[in-house]
Each structure stands twice: as structure tokens, then as C-alpha cells.
Symmetry: C2
Subunit: 339 residues, 2 copies
């Protein structure tokens, strides 16, 4: 391992976005006197009559959830994007605004209110993956939809307002900022090298074995070299696939296994139901020329030192660049020991 | 006022960074069932013997603070960047890391432990501004320093670990991500139009009067058209100035007035000591050709609905684009009523 990276301040390049993260390894020792998060240690029941996501319960808009058995998808009752909203364009010199249409969905991972992905069987996680595939297809068929953002906010500290295991899918007509950046950088690399940026990165990582947490036949779970969040991780398919629909049946099971292994290690790390936001970045649905895309799923967990002390991305991070103390290599070691 | 912007989902362009914010005005009505922040209602003493920032007290490294009367600046005891750290460069195909040197300082705004900028006299805020100018000059004279990031994290929810009124200054050899983006976009505009991007934007805003909170002879306080945080605001000098050192003495007082007016309005909004991260973006210190820069100070406050309910920038925001519900125009009205 290169020891300079463990001893001295440096910045690392995110090859997908073109942006940098500042790493200050020597700073991991500073004491913490700031805000502590509260952890909920309540054991949740398998069914909660006040939960609007539990099977058979009624939601705010009066609709009743079906008595679903595994995965249940519905359109968000408070959707940030709507299909029928007005189209307009304002380009008044330096004031630029474009209307945006979309469809926002909620996906319940399980009827069991008490579970999280980490606690679900790999088979049941696979059902979630199959539902993601179906949503990517059907949403993508809508001519107004060009991008499908699958994500999960887990834990109150990540703004999740209901502990029932669920994620969201926001799909829309244009590419969001982060996707646009990754589109550009993958495209540039692919045009020049005729091979996948992330595929070649993966080869380097498999060769070095310094940031690999886990691998199976189809997937690698690793802490990216440019990770921002203390225990950020990424699941990358070994094959060069543009989107999640290119996975075969057996690959969806192996992807579910990778999710299971990572989320279980997370829960063990600080002995709590580990909060995070996760998301899948993949090719736009409407573009024809997407061969440069190599889909992947990322996990951004906020916790830094314990179940109650998180990393704050504030002042310097908001105005300058993201900053971290513990290095990607140390984070990998700690997660790997928990497998 | 354009009513489409108040009624339908749209994205707005940040002309300084080239990135978009998703605005969903119809969504402001959704109920909140998620995490609440705790507010500290403790009245703080003017002096706290356990505070490592109070005058005369001893810090973690054994150094004793002087009996300072107004502003006190010292080098951060847990600096993320150091001047004497090793220089190296790793460019191992897709693994790219460069060492980064810098100087991190802490600036105590007042010896009075109980105060915040909102509660300080304009004269005393001016002393903080003068100290910022001095730091910009002296740090900038260091050949290893090319950028000086002045910022404040206020409130426990913004990762601030000590309520004593203070900010930070992280200075370094290269431009952080956010500064780089603003450098590029201002440069492009200035090369083409031979006038300041932000100066021309200001003219449009002063003409429309829809997002102006306050102005005096030298400064405008406004909610930028592309604001991300619910009550985000920006202080912009009317003159095209590259950096804070171009302010005259009277202008430093008028800048202090603008800070005072804005932070007082913030405190009134939800009747609490309003948390935020603020920061000044200005020209790099070493570059010769910086005429395109127009410095400004931004405030990113997290609160959304009350002293305890904040906006979470999570899943969609991390993987897609920032998203807001309440529009910049409504936020302006609410802040303006409190002046
Ligand atoms: O330097 P402090 O106040 O200890 O730390 C705070 O501000 C820093 C700069 O924005 C952040 O990196 C830290 O996460 C935050 O807790
Ligand atoms: O949609 P929810 O779960 O109510 O809301 C949560 O996720 C959204 C998408 O990341 C965010 O915009 C909200 O700030 C957050 O509280």
C-alpha cells in the first residue's frame, strides 16, 4: 500500500465525475465535541397499523395498499415530479428555468415492517432487484422519461420519515447533475479507449486488492479510491453492462447477494441499523448511444465514528470540496473484517 | 411574478456553477413525519471556563488563548491541511491523487461566548470583516497558497462542535471543486461579454425586485434565482470587485450591515439561533488574470419548516440534483417581512 496516502493530506480524483475529494488522514485522531445522533433501539413489529406503507393500510390520499406478499410499487403521493405538469421554458438573459416532467414512485421492499435489506433473505432482495428492472423498463418506455433514478434513504438521519423498508424511484425527462457528469466522463473515456472506464478501473482494483470488500462471479463490492463518505462503497458488475436490465436471472441473484453482504457488514460496523443513501447510476433510457455507460450502485453512509457520530458535510465541503479523514483503504479493512 | 415558477415542477440554472436545482413548488404541502432536530435553548454565559475558544483559556494542545478583546485568529489545532506535509503525485492510470498543502485557521468573532453574528453590533462585525481581509492578504502571500476559503459552520446541526462564535479559514494550493466551477463560468462569460456575470445578474434582479431582501449603498442581499437551500441567500457587492480586499473602509461597514440584517432576519424566521454554513467565494490569490471574478458571500441554512425540521439533502439530491419545495420568491417574501 502506498504509505503517502495514509500519512499526508492529498486530493483524489473521482474519474466518474471529474471532481476531487480532500483526504486528511492525520486528522482522524481529533476529539469530537459536537452533535450526537440519537439511535432508535425500538424493536419494530412486523406490522404497524399506523404505517402507511404496511400491507392493507390506507395512505394519506385515501388509497388502500394491497395485501402485498413481497415487493409493492406505487406512485408517490407527494411526487416531486409529475407527468401532467405544464411545459414552459424561461430564458430571460441570466434567469434560466425549464419545466421538468417525471414520475416518482415508492417501492416497498417487504411487507415486514421490522426488516431492512440487511435483514432480508437474498432471495427476497432479488425480488426487489427484479422490481427495479421492471420499473426501469416501463418508466423508460414513457417518451417523457429519459432517466430513472433508483435510490433509498435509510434511517432518520438520512431524512427517511418511515422505517418501513422502502426505496424510491424518481424518473424524469432530463439528466440530473450527477448523472450528466458521469455521462460526460464515461463518454470521453470510451470514445478514446473503446473500453469501459469503470471496467478498466475494476481491473486495476482487482489487481491491487487494497479496496475490495467482497466479490462473487458477477459483482465486486469495493470502496472507490475517491470515496467521499467515511464508509462509502460501490457495487460494480464485472461485465460491461449499460443498465440493470442487462443482468441475467442468475446475475440478479448475485447482485442481491452483494447488497446483502455489504448491508450486513454495515450493520455490524457500529452495531446498529446502519443509515445510508444508496442509488443506482445507469444509462439514460431514451438515448441511443449509451455504450459508454457501466452501471453501478453506490452507498453513501453518514456515520463516522460510532452509531451516533456522523460526518458533517458542511462549510468547507459545501463551499470547497468534500473532505474526509479516514482513508478508503482503512475503511475497506474495517468492513472486510466484518464479513 | 411568473406564476409558472410558483405552480409547476421545473429546474433552474445556477449561472455560477453551471448546475441545476429541481424545484417542486406543489410539494411544499406534504406532511412531515421524519426526524426533528433538537434546539438548544440554554442561555449561554458570556464566559465559559470549559470553552477552548474563550479568552484566556487553554486549548487541547496546551496553548493559552490571549485575553483578546474583539477578534482572535489562530492556526487550527486539528488542521485538515498543513504546510509542511510531503509533496507527492500518484498518477497510476485511473488512480489519481495529488498531495495538497495548506493552512487552516480558526477565527473567533468575539470574546463573548454567548453571542452570534446576529447578536453582535455592526461595528463588531466590521472587525471580523477586517480580519478576513487581513487573512486573505497574509495567507495569499504564501507561495504555496492559491485559494483562501473563509466559512462559518453555525449550530450543532451544521457540525459545529463549539457554540462560541467563530468561523474558519482553510487555504490551500489548488482550487476546490466549487470554486473551480465558478471560476470557469465567470471566466467564460467575462471573456465573451467583457463585463461581470454577477454584476449583470444583479442588474436583472434589481430591476425585477422579486428576490431582493435588502440593499444598501454598496451591497445587495438576495435569494439567488437558483437557490438550493430553503432560505439560502447571497450578499453581493454592487461594484465589480474580485476579492474582499477591494472593499474600502466604509464598504466593510456596509458589508457588516448586510450580514447583520440577514442574520437577524434568519433568527426571527423560526425564533431560534438560526443554523447555517456561510462562505465567501472570491478570486484565487496567485492567479494573475482574475478580472472575471466578482466575490460574494453565501448562506446555506438547513431549516425548512421550523426550528426543528430541516431539509434533508439525501438520496435524490446526492445521486441526482439538489431539490427544493418552497420557491426562491416565497422565501424572499418571508425573509423580507422580518426586516
Ligand atoms: O472543523 P470542525 O468545526 O471541527 O468540523 C466541522 O467543519 C469541517 C469543515 O467544514 C467539517 O469537515 C467537519 O465535518 C465539521 O464537523
Ligand atoms: O421523499 P421523502 O422520503 O419524503 O423525502 C426524503 O427524500 C427526498 C429525496 O431524496 C428528499 O428530497 C427529502 O428532503 C427527504 O426528506
Amino acid at each position: 500500500m502506498n504509505t503517502d496516502l495514509q500519512d499526508y493530506s492529498h486530493k483524489r480524483l473521482n474519474i466518474l465525475t471529474g471532481e476531487w475529494v480532500l483526504v486528511s488522514p492525520h486528522r482522524a485522531k481529533r476529539p469530537w465535541q459536537g452533535q450526537n445522533e440519537s439511535i432508535s433501539t425500538n424493536v419494530r413489529p412486523a406490522y404497524d397499523e399506523t404505517c402507511y406503507l404496511c400491507a392493507g393500510n390506507t395512505r394519506v390520499n385515501g388509497e388502500k395498499n394491497p395485501k402485498y406478499q413481497d415487493v409493492f410499487v406505487f406512485t408517490n403521493d407527494f411526487a416531486a415530479l409529475q407527468t401532467d405538469s405544464k411545459s414552459f421554458k424561461i430564458e430571460d438573459d441570466l434567469l434560466v428555468a425549464h419545466s421538468e416532467q417525471g414520475i416518482c414512485k415508492v417501492i416497498c421492499f417487504s411487507p415486514d415492517h421490522s426488516k431492512s435489506l440487511a435483514e432480508m433473505a437474498v432471495n427476497d432482495i432479488q425480488k426487489v432487484v427484479l422490481a427495479w428492472q421492471e420499473e426501469y423498463t416501463t418508466l423508460g418506455e414513457n417518451p417523457n422519461i429519459n432517466y430513472v433514478q433508483i435510490f433509498e434513504n435509510k434511517g432518520a438521519v438520512m431524512g427517511c420519515s418511515n422505517p418501513h423498508p422502502h426505496g424510491q424511484i424518481w424518473s424524469q425527462s432530463t439528466l440530473p447533475n450527477e448523472v450528466y457528469k458521469k455521462d460526460v466522463h464515461q463518454y470521453e473515456y470510451f470514445s478514446k479507449n473503446k473500453s469501459s472506464l469503470l471496467g478498466n478501473y475494476l481491473k486495476q482494483e482487482l489487481d491491487k486488492q487494497e479496496r475490495i470488500i467482497f466479490e462473487n462471479d458477477a459483482f465486486v463490492v469495493l470502496v472507490p479510491f475517491w470515496a467521499v463518505w467515511p464508509f462509502e462503497a460501490m457495487i460494480v458488475p464485472k461485465k460491461h453492462q449499460k443498465n440493470i436490465n442487462e443482468m441475467s436471472d442468475i446475475e440478479t441473484l448475485l447482485f442481491a447477494e452483494a447488497i446483502s453482504v455489504l448491508t450486513k457488514a454495515y450493520d455490524k460496523l457500529f452495531n446498529c441499523s446502519f443509515p445510508y443513501s444508496s442509488g443506482i447510476h445507469q444509462a439514460p433510457t431514451n438515448e441511443k448511444d449509451n455504450d459508454h455507460w457501466h452501471w453501478h450502485m453506490s452507498f453513501y453512509p453518514p456515520l463516522l465514528r460510532s452509531a451516533t457520530v456522523k460526518k458533517f458535510m458542511v462549510g468547507y465541503e459545501m463551499f470547497g470540496s468534500p473532505q474526509r479523514d479516514i482513508t478508503a483503504e482503512i475503511a475497506t479493512q474495517r468492513l472486510k473484517e466484518l464479513l
